[in-house]
Symmetry: C2
Subunit: 207 residues, 2 copies
DNA sequence: GCGAGACTGTACCGATCGGTAAACAAATTA
DNA sequence: TAATTTGTTTACCGATCGGTACAGTCTCGC
């Protein structure tokens, strides 16, 4: 019959979207079929192990995207503040200011967590590690950087949950802005336009 | 046949647990039946509208528990710092340091969100409002308090996600400690130490 | 006692689930 | 052109899904 999809890779994006919207169990083969435009036969041709393999493919793609767009700059970029700002911008865009769910985070709280535990863990560990590396290169202490990196990643995940629950993208935006103020160290430039609210933050610097 | 359950209320706790563990779609009637010890007949006797009504009942119970244990003290307690510390302690205990998922948060990122949107929103709005009220009574500005309250609730949600993903309850604990440092205003007593873990309080009342 | 609900067990419903089999068409290679 | 690989369609499988029907059994007020 007519060939509809050139490569397996073309199915990843719609696959990701349908898993994000419906979860692992909720994404039925009928839904997946509609989203990708492929029948069951084709789906099982590309992914012989069914849904599990599809999710693994999606997680791999997501991991690669973050590696390239976020983790790698965080680890290697000499302009550390720039890399951190870029991370926040990419994140804001990627998650559509909280309107789009984080598939990895959603899987982490689902009962299917165990199936993908390693991939889920890897995604977050890489993120925290990369961010910690950047913070250390800012001149911060290693322990402090670890805590702060952890806090940043967790804040992003929480912001997605809360902004969706409240149906208010501004919640996500505020969290990102807050994060910027906490992660970016202003050197000497006197133009502090981003960090208008300095008062209550600085004092709670302990751990 | 033999009567097994005295009241509908007795089913709420196992119901909550099974929905937490398997999500709305993942919690099949077979699973629910096993968790509650009730056959379909009994289940549909207590909840004529099926799973949806079961979830609503659970959400109602959860909301009531938080109202009594967290929101109300936050709004009314004269010892504001005490109420905030109690909130953190209750939260840590309730979520078992991140080992237990927040059902409301999990529903918020699922595709079934729309079904329960109002209840989900209400849960979080009440939490943020109550915490904001406490922070204002601490002497903070209203706007600042709003932001800070939002940030605290979001941090708890994110901590659940991250600590589960990393399979490390310490992540959750650190986030709670961090929050304490940011929310509680020390008056004069230099007795900081923090955490100290109020020992395993009662464990009952599992909503 | 006895009737009325309140509760329970079981059989059953149509729909859908994830997954398989195989006939078949198009592109690729020889 | 012939053979092979690669992709697509369709029909089908047993299991399970959420939900219903209903007869049976309990408890309790009278």
């Amino acid at each position: 019959m007519a060939r509809m999809v050139a490569e397996r890779a073309d199915t990843i994006a719609p696959l990701a979207e349908v898993f994000r919207e419906h979860g692992y169990e909720g994404a039925s083969l009928a839904l997946i079929s509609k989203a990708t435009g492929l029948g069951k036969g084709s789906l099982y041709h590309f992914f012989p192990n069914g849904k599990e393999e599809m999710v693994r493919a999606v997680l791999g793609e997501i991991g690669q995207w973050f590696e390239d767009a976020v983790y790698s700059p965080l680890r290697n970029e000499s302009d550390v503040n720039g890399a951190i700002c870029a991370m926040l911008a990419s994140t804001d865009q990627y998650f559509r200011s909280g309107r789009r769910v984080c598939l990895v985070g959603a899987l982490a709280v689902a009962n299917t967590r165990d199936l993908f535990a390693q991939a889920i863990r890897g995604y977050f560990v890489a993120w925290v590690d990369a961010l910690q590396s950047a913070l250390i290169r800012q001149g911060r202490e290693a322990d402090q950087s670890r805590i702060l990196a952890e806090e940043a990643v967790l804040t992003i995940q929480g912001a997605i949950v809360l902004s969706r629950a409240m149906d208010d993208p501004a919640v996500f935006q505020r969290a990102i802005d807050q994060l910027r103020g906490r992660l970016v160290i202003e050197k000497d430039t006197s133009n502090n336009e981003g960090t208008t609210d300095v008062s209550p933050q600085n004092e709670g610097r302990l751990v």
